[in-house]
Amino acid sequence: DAGITQSPRYKITETGRQVTLMCHQTWSHSYMFWYRQDLGHGLRLIYYSAAADITDKGEVPDGYVVSRSKTENFPLTLESATRSQTSVYFCASSESLMQTQYFGPGTRLLVL
């Protein structure tokens, strides 16, 4: 009954380090999404995935890498973190692209 979970919930890292944010859903939804939320910009789509091994770029993909080897997991990796990637990251899932999305609790990332 967990739904959609994210880990870690809070992360502090340094510029240049690699960071991976995890997302796990228990509904077997086909679609999964990564967003970042910043003041003044609202919610912006980073990457999304239609199924295992199928991913596509969103509005702000630069500096991020995703993978989806299993339907239930959708990790987001910052290969070399920058201060501009300080943000709150939300993972979401849905049955189809334009239907209801179910959001995780978010990960607050601070890059020093």
Partner: protein, 112 residues
């Protein structure tokens, strides 16, 4: 690819009053969704209204859609302190593959 824009950006009312938030969009849509975000939490889906629907209710929530004006409104009746949150509309993106795009939200504060 910004599509929906909420208005006002912030709204503060007394408990018991009604709150109305608006969303305007640019192109034809097949549905429009409203989400709520409590402070520090992920977004929660409230209502999906299809393009052939003019009004939809869910408890104290009423959503209207006027496709001729390309606008939607969310009405919360008999507001409560627990309604304090940010409210977002989500519409299909203008560019590229059809994806949901979230507006920047209306921050609603209910004063006791």
């Amino acid at each position: 690819s910004q599509q929906g824009e909420e208005d006002p950006q912030a709204l503060s009312i007394q408990e018991g009053e009604n709150a109305t938030m608006n969303c305007s969009y640019k192109t034809s849509i097949n549905n429009l969704q409203w989400y709520r975000q409590n402070s520090g939490r992920g977004l929660v889906h409230l209502i999906l209204i299809r393009s052939n629907e003019r009004e939809k209710h869910s408890g104290r929530l009423r959503v209207t859609l006027d496709t001729s004006k390309k606008s939607s409104s969310l009405l919360i009746t008999a507001s409560r302190a627990a309604d304090t949150a940010s409210y977002f509309c989500a519409t299909p993106s203008i560019q590229g593959a059809q994806k949901l795009v979230f507006g920047q939200g209306t921050r609603l504060t209910i004063n006791p």
